[in-house]
Symmetry: D2
Subunit: 238 residues, 4 copies
């Protein structure tokens, strides 16, 4: 038996499984539960443990890409589970997606989805901030978008500046922290003059301040990544 | 006579023109000054006015793309000036770039560059935040990057979610503000548990709070753009 | 029977009441449960409802002031509950505190505590930011503290600028939004030069941007409060 | 000859001194210039140097306290200058203020004013955030203010928690970083549910994340100050 769910958040998932008329009671040991929801990974871990106590296996498998992709069966599936359980679930994944990525073990699908959506939800705000600043200082929006689509502004840093520098351990400057700090300062100062609130950008500038205080001003601007790793106490780059 | 400069900031430009042995004194009425620096647009406007009083024309023409592109003559040039002045400067631009965009009038080149670099410098920080969160919760970095390169996380919102929604005045939800708000909340809560500082993301979430308070929770998540326009008092979308 | 708890967070409270050997099972209808923990008010509401179903009354009663005050029996108790239940609990409160405030109904004690600690925990960070900026630009710390203790910087805005202006509906400027915006801009610009990360201040400046964009630049600086009420969609001031 | 000014910002000061019909041209060597403006300290330093080249002394002397205090002659004057120059200016200060603080040397008055106003302008926003959260979750505003005026929320941390802990080098916990982190997390989570944007608080929480990542979770919450000093690379506490 396999059942799968896609629900708003962890309490809904828990209720669907363990609430009154919950599915878990109807599942026998050896059954497989597949959760495609976007939920708190630590709650996902707890649900997996509770299911495991009843002999039920779990694969976490949220979807990437847009709802249009989902309708077309072109989703990307971010999978977390044991290799054997993933294999059992694979026929389902192939129905709904065209890319299946094993994210590295139980719970890693839900973790990956949160990381992925962190990037997209903040990027959405950054894009709104950028266009609003552009509007406020009198640029034509179509021109602004045309220009940005022709520079790294219109692409992911993961596709442009990261691979050639910080991701291979090279912090020789293609563009210096000091210059990024300066340019972002000009933008925020200008935004202050035209009264555009740029919360994400104002926060971002503090990390450049820290990078400079740590003596990294003349390193490549991607050095903000190892700086942030240091602040968070996670395994470091350079 | 044409002269051009690429200098760190506005005081440097001003000094090069108007300081002791400044270039402006050596320029005759009718000369053309081209500035490729990335400087405060309002200071650029003042410099243009001072030059204009001496009969000297100015074109602002900062470069987009990376230093590697510049070395290869493949820069994008963001040009601000009158049509006639831009034409006079065009041979220079064609030497150093392969794309020349008229940004819409005097000063618009410098404005465009600040907007462009606002996007890139904050995106750099957002990317560092995303990868550090990924590291802290145990994801394999290569897997995380592979997944994100296959979803909108690895592309600009200007290439994916904006054109089909807010940029054509459609806020029917492909992905709702409420869901983006929820997912970003999970990420920030998780980051709090593993002690990863996510300043840009924490700031971004406040805009989703505002969007919801304004009754836009069930609109497309790109509705944060008209919300921000409203806050900044600039021309609005929907 | 009355029992009371002071525990780290809502799951601990719930477990103490409803877990294995939980207290709720030992309480009879008519008993009174008093929770002095600092917990999520919405979870507190759910716990109260669950207790109520068993006929058990609840008073939420977290403590204000410091641990030293608590040891001296000089705590302030923020109480939420029905008048009758509060009266039943009052003897306990009088043992541990010298000030008991009825916060306005069931759950309002827990709400009040979260609001109170929001202020204190952010104020702690603001104070650290202020002193670090002071250190970084070479001020003597004792002098800086002496000066601030002699100005509104060393007192709560609730004791100084709020009562005479926004709290009585008067936004005639004792100090204008435009000037606060300017001074905060100077501080952030200076901090950028000496590389001090001022996250709270950078965020705060965005609200002044919004206030100005809404035409409130020449109002009293406490106008940021009605501006924020507008953004949050709550009952407004002026 | 003594002249004094109180002007909006540094370009105004510079213009008043060095512009057409500027005062500096009318001042003889040995004259004293007193600036009570709130301006960028680095620009103040440059103005002082330019005056010094003409033999003119400068004292920076901005005012603390409110405009009402100024009208009553009860201002606090934050003075920067040499001891001799301050003595020359003292009669003026005694006319307009009742407290004169020598801030430690030339330029230190302007520095002190920026630090002082950093605290007050951000505190104003923090107060607005706190009251808006209170409003949004249904607390009576008068009750909320009454409670906070009875706890450290209604006083400066410089008057309460700092002197007994971090300022004397003691980080034994009166209130732990871990608990401040938890309570602020509850507040932000709650604000997300009721859609109150709390930018300053969201930024502040990142510093608690960093403090915990640096192993300071069980230290006194005022440990955020040495953490921030470390990030900024300034002289440290413990």
């Amino acid at each position: 038996v396999k059942i799968f769910t896609m629900l708003p958040n962890a309490p809904h998932v828990r209720d669907a499984l363990f609430g009154a008329d919950g599915a878990a009671a109807a599942m026998e040991p050896g059954a497989l539960y597949i959760d495609m929801s976007t939920i708190d990974p630590l709650e996902s871990d707890a649900i997996r443990a509770d299911l495991g106590a009843a002999g039920i296996a779990m694969v976490d498998a949220p979807l990437g890409r847009t709802s249009l992709a989902a309708e077309a069966g072109e989703s990307l599936v971010m999978v977390g589970g044991t290799a054997a359980d993933i294999d059992r679930a694979r026929p389902l994944f192939e129905l709904i997606g065209d890319t299946v990525v094993d994210c590295g073990g139980p719970g890693m699908g839900h973790r990956m989805k949160i990381v992925n959506n962190y990037m997209t939800t903040v990027l959405n705000v950054l894009t709104a901030e950028t266009l609003t600043l552009s509007d406020a200082i009198g640029l034509d929006r179509d021109v602004a978008i045309e220009v940005m689509m022709g520079t790294p502004a219109g692409r992911s840093a993961l596709a442009t500046v990261y691979p050639d520098r910080v991701l291979k351990g090279d912090l020789s400057p293609a563009f210096m922290v000091d210059l990024a700090h300066k340019d972002l300062g000009i933008a925020l100062d200008l935004a202050g003059k035209v009264n555009v609130p740029l919360g994400a950008g104002a926060a971002a500038r503090q990390l450049y301040n820290i990078a400079r205080a740590r003596g990294r001003g003349r390193q490549d601007w991607t050095a903000v990544y190892p700086v942030l790793q240091e602040l968070a106490g996670v395994g470091q780059e350079d």
